[in-house]
Subunit: 383 residues, 2 copies
Amino acid sequence: MKREKLLMTPGPTMVPPSVLKVMSAQIIHHRTAAFVAEYEQLEENLKELFDTKNMVLMFASSGTGAMESAIVNMFSPGDKVLAVSIGSFGDRFAEISSVYGLDVVKLAFEWGEAADVNKIKEILDADTTKEIKAVIMTHNETSTGVTNDIEAVGKLTKDTDRLFIVDAISSMGGIQIKTDEWGIDVVVTGSQKGLMCPPGLAYASVSDKAWEACEKSTLPKFYFDYKKYRKGFLGQGENPPFTPPVSLMLGQAEALKLMKDEGFENVFARHASLALAAQAGVAALGLELLCAQVNSSNIITPVKAPEGIEIGKVIKTMNEKYDVIVAGGQKHLKGKIFRIGHCGYADRFDLARGFMALELSLRENGYPVELGSSLAALQKSLG
Amino acid sequence: MKREKLLMTPGPTMVPPSVLKVMSAQIIHHRTAAFVAEYEQLEENLKELFDTKNMVLMFASSGTGAMESAIVNMFSPGDKVLAVSIGSFGDRFAEISSVYGLDVVKLAFEWGEAADVNKIKEILDADTTKEIKAVIMTHNETSTGVTNDIEAVGKLTKDTDRLFIVDAISSMGGIQIKTDEWGIDVVVTGSQKGLMCPPGLAYASVSDKAWEACEKSTLPKFYFDYKKYRKGFLGQGENPPFTPPVSLMLGQAEALKLMKDEGFENVFARHASLALAAQAGVAALGLELLCAQVNSSNIITPVKAPEGIEIGKVIKTMNEKYDVIVAGGQKHLKGKIFRIGHCGYADRFDLARGFMALELSLRENGYPVELGSSLAALQKSLG
C-alpha cells in the first residue's frame, strides 16, 4: 500500500488539512473587507507568536528574501557587522551582508557546535569605538540541527546602540522566541516550517531601534522596503503595498489560529518533548547525535551516519519504500549525517512512523537493529 | 441567495477548480523527483507561452519583485535608460529604476493614451552616442486598460546593443507576446492574472543579450540574482536555489496545462473576443471607453463614469448586492472610471454575469438603463 509521503524534513513541513481546505477555496480579492479582516487577525497572531509589540511585516518571498530585507533596510555600504555562523544558513546571512557591501566580521564555529557567546562578547567588548553596528545570527541552524542561545546574545546588544538581527526561519513556531524581552531588533522567518503553511510567505518583525536604523539606511530597496509595508499598517497607504499571496496568507491565518487554539506555549512544549523523544529513539538504535544533546534542536534532530553504512541509501529506502522523507547532510556533512524533522504539524504518531521507517531502512541497508527498540524509547520518553 | 464572488478585477483573477484542487493536496518536498518533474514541465510550458527559447526564471514574489529583478540584474548605477509610462505601473517601473540609481529618461503619456512609438524612436535616434542602454515599458497598463504596441518598439532595439525590458504582468497569458520574434530581452510577469493562479509567483525570461548585460551589472543582488536561478537549470546547483512556493508552483503547472489544452492561440483569441464584447456592452449602455477603442486592452476594459453618477457607489452595489467585483480608477482617475476585467479563467458567461450586475447597479444608482441591452450586445458580438 502506498501512503501519502510524510515530510520529516526541515521544511516544507506537513500542512494541516484545515489549512489546505482554506487554500482550496476560490480566491478572494485583497482589497476587500473579508481579506483585510483575515490579514489584520494574522498580524495580531504573528505578534503574539513573536512575543512582540513590534510590527510584523509580511512578504511574498522565501525566507532568504526576508534575510535580504533585513540587510538592505538596516544598513548602508561599509557598515561593520558581526555575522555569527554555525552552518550553511549562517554562512548565507554573512554572504548576503557581503554582497550588499557591508564590512563583515565573520565569527564561524565548527559545524555541529553552537555559537560560543563569550567569543561574541569578547569581540563586542574589544570594539571600543563601537564600529560594529549589529550582530547577525541564526537561531536554529537547520543544516546542523543546532540551536543558538539568542537570549544570551540579546543581553549583549539590548541596551546598546547595536542591532540584533536573528534568522528564525526554522525555529519560529517550534522554539520559543521572546522578541521584545530578549531585545531582538529584526526577527525573520518563513511560512513553511514551524508556521505549518506551504512556502512562499516570509515575515520580519521590526523594533523601534530597527526603525531608526531604517531611516539612516542608504542601501537601495523597493520590493523589500520596510517603510512601504509600514505605511499600510499606519493607514497611510494600501495594505499590503503589493498584491499579496492571498491564498497562502489565508492559509497562514488558519494555521496561526490552530496554533493559538493549542496555545503557543503548548506548541513549544510539544516540540521540546518530540525532540527529547527523537534523541531517545536515536540512542536506542545505538546512533549518535551530531552535536551535544544540550544544543540539539527542538525542531530537527541531527544524527551521525553509522560507520560503514551508506546513509544516502537509508534515506532513499525510507522515501521510496516507506514514504517517509528525512534530510541528508549539506555540503561537507553530505553522507555523514541525516536529519529527522519534527517541526510544525507533527506529533508522537508521526515520530513513530518515522522511526519505524528508519528502523526498517537501517536494517535493510546493513545496520543491525532490534526492531521496535526506538519506538519503545520514544513512547517511554513522551510518557 | 449569496453567490461566490466573481472577480472581474485586473488581478487576482478567478482560479480554475482543478488548480485549486492541486493546491489543496498535501505538500510535497521540492527536492523530490515528483516536484522536479512538474517544475521542468512548468518551465517548458512557460517557454511556449512566452514564445521563447530563453530560460524563464521563477521567483516567490509578487510581480513588483520581478520588475525589480530586471533592474538589479541588467544595470549598474548611473546607467541611462528610457522608461516609457502610460500610467501607474509604468511610473512604478521608472521609480524602481531611479531608486537603484539609474539615470532615467522618463517619457510619460497622458493616462488613457498608448505610448507613441514615434516619440520613442525620436529619443533613441537623438541618442547618437548610444548612452541609453535600454527601453523599459509596460505592455498592458492595468491602471488605464491601455495596451502598448511592444512589437513596434522591439523593432527599434532588436538589432542594437540596447535592451528591451517589458512588464507583461497583466498581459501575459491574455495577450499574445512573441518574446523572441519581437526582440524582448526581459519579460516579467506574475501568476495571478492571465496565468490563472493565485498571486505569489513571478517570472522573468532572459535573452542572450540580457545575460550579457547581467554579467556586466554591478548592482547588488542576492534573492533575485538571475545567475543563482540559472545555475539550477544548467545543472550546476540546486534547482530552484531557494525553497520555492511548492503549492503555488504545482497550481501554476496545472493552470498552464489547462491553457495548453485549450491552445495558447485560442486563449488569446478568447480574450480578444471578450474584450470586443465588453466594448459592445459598454456602448450599448451609452457609456464611453477611457481610451481609443484600438488601444483598449484585451484583458480589462476601462470605462468612463457617466456624468453625475457616483461610480464608487455603483462598484459597491455590484460587489455587495450582486457579488461581482470590478475595479475603480487609480490615483487621479479615482471616481472617474471603472475597469471591467475579463482575464484568465473568464468566458462569455462570466461577462454576462458582470454586465447583468452592472446594469442593475447603474440603474439603482440613478443611471437610466434599458435592462438587457448590454447582454444582447455582448451575446451578438460574441456570435
